[in-house]
């Protein structure tokens, strides 16, 4: 294992220490050592946006704490849900008096810990509502959408939910907007190499040289198939062919596209992949790309690979996607 770490069991707290020290203009640590909070939280009169999940997905989740985005994040061990206590503290830190929207991904541990934390907050009279992201197409058939994982589409869910809250939306309005964002979003991932949890010390799955796993999950969950490595253009075409029919996306649709590396992919290759995605969407598919995002948005330790997320947008989603924001992982200027 070639890694830049100290004690493998201390990677998460040491990462949080470094993150908070590096971004004092955006975040603070408050109440709990595994909770990262927007510097000026709680914002009075605003719905609090909370998320959380296992570590190893930088910039997710702490990288999306910031203005017009997420107010507080519960930080878990590598690939393991945060504790109920951490979720509860994050919710308390984000409470500006209008309730809490907890927007997170569809994983068993996160669901349990969020449920226990929400009960705790409700005992104190603070209303908590949730949206559970399930944008990953390969993880279950369409008629079992409730079983699908939440992946990079979560970034768009936070963007939309965070913007709705910032614009003064009520808890129900924020929840409805975030739910619409994820309902309109589909994602897929391709893995070319495995990743290693430092405290485990060895990869927990393998991908042979010359092969790729099509439809892989953010923790190396097996995808649709293992196959021979193909070109970037073919990867882009295959990915679109899998996710576009699922919504379905249609000719004339306006879409937001998010391409993310999985941790070890050169940024250059993300653009090579995006080039073909853009060409297919705006060419043969007859859609228009309202706003593309290409970069490291939701990774999986040092996995080599890529994810593609497409969200169909309407006027409301366009307005929310366009709102300026400021976090480590996502920074947008005001539109003129």
């Amino acid at each position: 294992m070639q890694r830049i770490i100290n004690d493998p069991d201390r990677v998460v707290p040491e990462m949080v220490d470094g993150f908070v020290a590096a971004h004092p203009d955006i975040v603070k640590r408050e109440g709990h050592e595994r909770v990262v909070v927007r510097k000026d939280a709680p914002v009075a009169g605003k719905v609090g946006i909370v998320t959380g999940g296992g570590s190893g997905h930088k910039p997710a989740f702490v990288g999306y704490v910031g203005r017009n985005l997420v107010d507080a994040v519960a930080v878990g061990e590598i690939f393991s849900s945060p504790t109920a206590a951490a979720f509860a503290e994050a919710m308390r830190a984000a409470d500006g008096g209008k309730g809490i929207a907890c927007l997170y991904g569809n994983y068993a541990g996160d669901k349990m810990n969020v449920k226990m934390a929400a009960e705790d907050l409700e005992d104190d009279g603070i209303e908590v509502k949730t949206v559970i992201a399930n944008d990953d197409v390969p993880s279950a058939p369409k008629d079992e959408r409730e079983k699908r994982r939440g992946v990079a589409g979560e970034v768009l869910m936070w963007k939309v939910g965070g913007a709705k809250a910032a614009l003064g939306g009520s808890l129900d309005e924020v929840i409805a907007a975030a739910q619409k964002a994820i309902d309109n979003t589909r994602s897929i991932g391709i893995g070319l190499s495995p990743c290693t949890i430092p405290s485990v010390g060895k990869p927990n799955f393998s991908i042979e040289p010359g092969k790729m796993e099509f439809g892989i999950g953010h923790h190396g969950e097996p995808g649709i198939k293992v196959m021979d490595l193909v070109s970037a253009d073919e990867m882009a075409a295959m990915s679109l062919e899998t996710i576009l029919p699922d919504l379905p996306f249609n000719k004339g649709d306006e879409v937001v596209v998010l391409v993310s590396g999985l941790g070890a992919t050169p940024i250059m290759e993300l653009y090579i992949f995006y080039r073909k995605v853009h060409e297919i969407l705006t060419g043969e598919k007859g859609m228009s790309v309202y706003r593309p995002y290409v970069g490291e948005y939701f990774t999986s330790l040092e996995m080599m690979g890529i994810t593609l997320t497409v969200m169909k947008v309407d006027e409301e989603l366009k307005q929310l996607i366009d709102l300026d924001c400021y976090s480590m992982g996502l920074r947008q200027e005001k539109l003129r």
């Binding site: 206590a85 068993a108 541990g109 349990m112 810990n113 079983k147 927990n204 923790h219």
Partner: protein
Amino acid sequence: MSESFANAAGGGIVAELAATMRENRDYLSEIDGAIGDGDHGINMVKGFDMAAERVEDGASFDEAFRTLGRTLVMEIGGSMGPLYGQFFRAMARQAKGVEQVDAPTFASMLEAAYEAIRELGDAKVGDKTLVDTLDPAIAAFKEATGTGAGFAEALDRMTEAAERGKDSTKDLVAKVGRSSRLGERSKGVLDAGATSCWLILRTTAEFVKRQL
């Protein structure tokens, strides 16, 4: 051998459970690594060791379980922190204020623990989870006491059923939790949670039998 033991003398249970987890750390992680993250053993040892340190000298059986449950919920995330945390908290509640823990008390502890698990997750028997260990173990304990077996013998029946339940997960396809994403490929290996549940029940049974 008596049919009950003093609650006040049972505080050593958590140290024994922690020792069992330490002995099986690598084994649990290895099973978990086949169809999960490979960190089950690491997380269990972390939580149980932390709890063992926090259990005060002279703690009772229920106080020790309460400390264990609270520690797992507060300090260990993932799925296992809340599941086992609520499991031990529920056991502790049933034994609170009881002077002598007998077979009916122990049966109510097991049932409350099972209820707590069901409240959190959706797992049923056959889904390849710790429920596949817990459900038959509780049934065997109750059946034994219902047909005249003593406390110690009922504990043996419970441990045997737990082991069979754990072994049954090998041929099951995971239906809930992270390994369920593997579908048919989750077959052929034991479920890590079912295995740790068996270790917990076996260690608890051995501990209780020595107190009788």
